[in-house]
């Protein structure tokens, strides 16, 4: 069986690229047998869930007229003092 060092790296890469068939099988096998790596995998997935915007998220908030005014002012300031 692959070591936890290798398995945890593979678990991380599985979030960034599609694993090959063999890699996927080895990882699943390891996670099934190893509670620590299974936790690691759940935890890095939880970190992603926490940061990602869900696909179905929508938002109907808008800039207030005051906010738009502040932004306009910032734009004219920046125009007056280009850096």
């Amino acid at each position: 069986m692959q070591s936890c060092r290798v398995a945890s790296r593979l678990a991380s890469e599985s979030l960034d690229r599609p694993l090959g068939l063999r890699e996927r099988f080895a990882l699943r096998m390891h996670l099934w047998l190893c509670a620590n790596c299974a936790r690691f995998e759940r935890q890095i997935r939880a970190m992603r869930t926490l940061l990602r915007v869900p696909d179905d998220a929508s938002c109907d908030a808008d800039l207030t007229p005051e906010a738009r005014e502040r932004i306009r002012k910032a734009l004219s300031r920046s125009r007056a003092m280009p850096d």
Partner: protein
């Protein structure tokens, strides 16, 4: 020069302000931070308008700038709050190194704790605060890369292009960022049942 680049940023604010604001608010979940991200995006766009190629739409171009401003906001937001003593060093990151986590046979040195379902045990706001502080404690480049990937859902190719690294580099850095963050979150109170 492309005709859209002749539009004034005030026109961009009218035409795209709402879309930019929603994009930012969904990710930052804070109205003031979202407003600042939009403002900085338009100011940056004003200064960089000569470089707008016209290959993309103005909205796509502005969103591209906004993504970086959101990443900036996300880190700036927590800069004043000190991290617990046990946190990750700001300059380098021993906890990102897998030698810190694994022994010479490749086994975990310490058993991992059960986080349970953090979203059930902690308020979302508390969770985000811990997360932001831990992201701030990561080395800049690692944190940026991690946020482009996780917060912005940027594909590896886009990240590699942006930071001028190979995919293998990117995966290694993401792995290091996850190791460091995981250790930091664990030490800063994300564990299951801590509030009970």
């Amino acid at each position: 020069m492309h005709k859209h680049a002749m539009d004034s940023p005030e026109d961009w604010l009218d035409a795209h302000g709402s879309a930019l604001y929603r994009f930012a608010l969904l990710r930052l979940r804070d109205e003031q931070q979202a407003e600042e991200a939009v403002q900085e995006t338009l100011v940056a766009a004003l200064q960089a308008r000569d470089r707008f190629s016209g290959n993309a739409t103005v909205r796509t171009w502005l969103i591209g700038i906004l993504k970086h401003k959101i990443v900036d906001q996300f880190r700036l937001a927590s800069r004043e709050v000190p991290l617990a003593e046990s946190g990750v060093d700001a300059l380098d990151c021993p906890a990102c190194d897998d030698d810190a986590a694994f022994d010479e046979r490749g086994h975990w040195r310490e058993p991992l704790s059960d986080w349970g379902n953090p979203e059930a045990t902690l308020q979302r706001r508390e969770l985000m605060a811990i997360l932001q502080r831990c992201l701030d404690a990561l080395p800049e480049r690692l944190a940026r890369l991690f946020m482009l990937r996780e917060l912005m859902d940027a594909p590896t190719e886009a990240i590699c292009q942006e930071l001028d690294i190979t995919p293998t580099n990117a995966w290694t850095m993401l792995y290091r960022a996850r190791m460091g963050l995981r250790a930091c979150l664990d030490q800063n109170g994300i564990r299951a049942g801590r509030k009970d």
